[in-house]
């Protein structure tokens, strides 16, 4: 929508691209977040999940993966289209793809953490945003920064490594924290 609204000024569009795409990714991951555990909580399935034989963090990771497949992955898949709209050169489009593939899973995990912490709270959606937006700042900075560096024709490897490190940390630790938050929510 942005390129349609802003007009066809190539330089301006190129400069905005990284930030706009990342804010869009953040919004996409936030929108469905509130319902990630709310349905299971309301119909009692979450109790059964807590008592299930697979470890809770594994089930949580599966749910977050499903969320990412529906929000983060489509975002990454349409990057070629976005690249065309923003007049990006090929290296920048590749950079955008890499940064979204590495960064959006972290957003999904963080959002799920917010959803677990606000489970059963009325108006939880707003709280999730308040809790999670500050935590997603590093992802946003490195993701959008990497795209800008690619645009300048330089090597953005350092950004991708940092994003990758964030992703690994998030995958390792956040499911356990979510599991704990869910246990507390159901006590």
């Amino acid at each position: 929508m942005f390129p349609l609204g802003v007009g066809v000024e190539t330089g301006l569009l190129q400069k905005m691209a990284g930030g706009v795409v990342w804010v869009a990714a953040l919004l996409a991951s936030m929108l469905a977040m509130e319902r990630l555990f709310a349905g299971d909580y309301a119909d009692g399935t979450l109790e059964q999940i807590l008592l299930a034989s697979p470890p809770l963090p594994v089930i949580v990771l599966a749910k977050v993966t499903a969320h990412w497949l529906l929000t983060g992955l489509p975002m990454a898949l349409i990057t070629p289209l976005a690249g065309l709209q923003y007049h990006l050169p090929l290296p920048a489009v590749q950079g955008m793809l890499v940064s979204l593939l590495l960064g959006t899973p972290v957003l999904s995990l963080l959002g799920a953490l917010g959803a677990a912490l606000t489970l059963g709270v009325r108006g939880g959606g707003v709280l999730i945003a308040l809790l999670i937006l500050p935590l997603s700042v590093p992802v946003l900075v490195y993701g959008a920064g990497g795209i800008t560096v690619c645009l300048a024709g330089e090597d953005a490897q350092a950004y991708w490594l940092l994003l990758g490190a964030l992703l690994l940390l998030a995958v390792l630790f956040i499911p356990w924290v979510i599991a704990q938050a869910l246990r507390i929510a159901l006590e």
Binding site: D43, G44, L186
Partner: protein
């Protein structure tokens, strides 16, 4: 705190029947038994060992059915039973066994209908059909008779009785006669003064 000094021993084929007025802690006690929450004080033993040391094995050996049926509205009855089976035992239950269980509870012909189109009592029956499929030994049922008609109540009673005769264990709460009088029944009236919560010291 809701209650204290509750102590009981459930032998094979034994029933724990929790009764009492609303809000006296029946659900809390059963949720504690189901390991969904920890007791403030005291200890739970399963086969003579502390529950916390063997949570995984214990959870494979129990069925918990709370106020909610834990059914997904968009899935049909068979799929819901499959989910329950995968969650508890990590395997799919056999389709013909699941169909037979549903048929026994009077849901023949409703297997392929999304659960959202079923009535409250029928949903409860789907949830109860899981009891016929699970090999779990301890059934923890929180007011299992709600929303059921007279025929279904009688049927559930006979299901519970045959579970007990196989040496299964049962803990349930109810407001009406559960029809298990001949069994090894342990009555727990939670609103009895002897179980009153200890008065907390004030400073």
């Amino acid at each position: 705190m809701l209650f204290g000094k509750v102590s009981f021993d459930l032998p094979e084929g034994g029933v724990l029947l929790v009764e009492g007025r609303n809000g006296c802690g029946k659900t809390t006690l059963l949720r504690t038994l189901a390991s969904l929450r920890q007791p403030e004080s005291g200890v739970l033993l399963w086969r003579g060992q502390a529950l916390l040391r063997q949570l995984e094995e214990y959870r494979r050996d129990i069925v918990w059915l709370g106020h909610h049926n834990a059914l997904k509205d968009d899935l049909n009855a068979l799929e819901n039973l499959h989910i329950a089976s995968v969650l508890q035992h990590s395997t799919n239950c056999r389709a013909d066994a699941a169909e037979a269980a549903l048929a026994e509870l009077g849901l023949y012909g409703y297997e392929d209908l999304p659960v959202r189109f079923l009535s409250q009592g029928q949903k409860r029956r789907v949830a109860l059909a899981w009891l016929l499929l699970t090999p779990a030994r301890l059934w923890i049922l929180d007011e299992p008779f709600t929303a059921l008609d007279a025929a279904a109540v009688a049927q559930l009673q006979s299901i519970l009785r045959s579970h007990l005769h196989r040496g299964g264990l049962l803990a349930l709460s109810a407001h009406q006669d559960v029809g298990l009088d001949g069994e090894n029944l342990f009555h727990l009236r939670l609103d009895d003064p002897q179980y009153a919560a200890p008065v907390e010291d004030e400073y």
